[in-house]
Amino acid sequence: MPVPDYAEILADVEDLIRRFIKNPVTIEEDTELVNGLGLDSLLVMEVIQEVEDRFDIFFPLNTLAEIRTVKDFVLQIQREIGG
């Protein structure tokens, strides 16, 4: 299976996040997951489970502290895919 690039991961992550947020909002790369999208800690965990299944990776919870924006999230996924 070809390794998805940044843009493909971003598009997948945007789709995935939309499934978890109640109100339609514009998702930009610099949108903050918690403050911008209103994802609470439980929803963040749900999103991570979905990301792990979608990309067949681990998303260790200890890396969460460094993730604030959608871009941070996508870059971390890219790192995990890259191994």
């Binding site: 609470d40 439980l42 929803l43 489970q49 299944d53 681990f58 919870l61 200890n62």
Partner: protein
């Protein structure tokens, strides 16, 4: 930005509770009358949310042992286990726990929370992996964070998801600690321990089971879920607490691994806190044989649990997935749940209100925990108050 700014969400939630006129998180028990009765807000209240599964908090033998110990040894140890805080009683309790579990080694911690912190942080570190059930207790999450290991969750009670994660870990399973609970504290459901043990055998890793809510409740001798599932030989570490079925406070770990001898030297939550008071150790030592031989108490707590679960189910309440001494009633929105909890308390029944994120799946719960000390009349009253509260709020 000030230090307290990050607590703005909590401040807003607290303000909301004040506006609602209810604060379920600051209940004061003015007088405790028995394992199942108290006085709250000036009125008698039936306690149905205390985790006092065997009802041993007022056992005369345990109380006498604690009093005798205070008279002989004073009120506290004033020191850490590693310094002046290990008395003969602490060591005897460790030996008795090891004997009870038929294990080589027992370690006593100051609380169950610290037992999890102490074991996880001593066992796992940066570069290691910890695989946990998503519904594990906060003390397990905090221990994982403190350890610096990679924290990987699997979906609650899903052996399928756990296997997926173990497969991804590959050779890293050699340095992986798997953590599950016997009975989960919020929904009262049991871990599929046979499946989990089979996966551990297949893929590797070490397994720790937190028996906080299953000790005294499951297994012929009350050792918990691992005994009940007949998989104790495959569980590397059992962690538990004295603060539920044993009616005291404190925590422990038991196991056979020779490395356990190193834990007291490596575990900061063991080293840098005062040890349990002599009275706590004495009452726990007196309670342990009662728990071990408490077949009738176990039978009673399960009868009580079955009776309440069945009644609530017949009334149409949405409950946790299986009968257990922890019975979770799923409610709707936060305001409805707060009102439900308040009306129940005003009607003389105390249960735990659990709001997200403490409650799984973003739901609000009224959590009951049953005791062997509950009488049939008390079980009836709990069920009746659930019913009348629902009717009152609907009207």
């Amino acid at each position: 930005m000030g230090l307290f700014d990050k607590l703005a969400n909590i401040a807003a939630a607290r303000q909301g509770l004040e506006a609602f006129g209810v604060d379920p998180f600051n209940v004061v028990i003015e007088e405790i009358l028995s394992p199942t009765e108290a006085r709250i807000g000036g009125q008698p209240v039936l306690l149905a949310g205390t985790n006092n599964y065997l009802g041993l908090t007022f056992d005369p033998g345990c109380m006498a042992a604690a009093c005798q110990s205070i008279n002989a040894e004073g009120t506290g140890t004033t020191g850490s286990r590693m310094a002046n805080g290990t008395y003969a009683g602490h060591l005897k309790l460790e030996e008795e726990l090891a004997t009870f579990y038929d294990c080589r080694k027992g370690i006593v911690f100051s609380t169950g929370f610290l037992a999890n912190l102490g074991m996880i942080t001593a066992l796992a570190g940066p570069g290691d992996a910890i695989l946990i059930d998503a519904d594990c207790h906060a003390s397990i999450y905090d221990g994982c964070r403190m350890s610096g290991a990679d924290i990987i969750r699997f979906r609650h009670n899903s052996a399928i998801d756990m296997e997926k994660k173990l497969k991804r870990l590959g050779a890293r399973t050699e340095n992986t600690l798997i953590i599950v609970e016997g009975i989960y504290s919020m929904l009262g459901d049991r871990a599929p321990l046979k499946d989990i043990v089979a996966l551990k055998r297949q893929y590797g890793g070490m397994l720790m089971v937190d028996e906080a809510h299953s000790l005294g409740v499951l297994g012929e001798k009350g050792r918990g879920m691992a005994e009940d599932a007949k998989v104790e030989a495959d569980v590397d570490f059992i962690v538990g607490t004295f603060s539920k079925s044993l009616g005291g406070i404190g925590g422990f770990c038991v196991g056979n691994h020779p490395g356990l001898d190193l834990i007291p030297y490596a575990s900061r939550p063991y080293i840098f806190t005062a040890s349990p008071s002599p009275a706590t150790i004495a009452s726990t030592r007196a309670a342990l044989p009662l728990l071990r031989d408490g077949v009738a108490l176990r039978k009673q707590v399960w009868e009580n649990a079955t009776s309440l679960y069945t009644r609530l189910q017949q009334m149409g309440f949405k409950l946790g997935p299986e009968i257990s001494p922890v019975i979770a009633v799923r409610l709707g929105a936060r305001e409805e749940s707060l009102a439900f909890w308040q009306v129940m308390l005003n009607s003389g029944v105390y249960v735990n209100l659990v709001l997200p994120p403490a409650a799984p799946s973003n739901s609000c719960l009224l959590r009951c925990s049953l005791s062997a000390a509950h009488t049939p009349a008390q079980i009836e009253k709990i069920a009746e108050v659930f019913s009348t509260t629902r009717a009152q709020l609907a009207g």
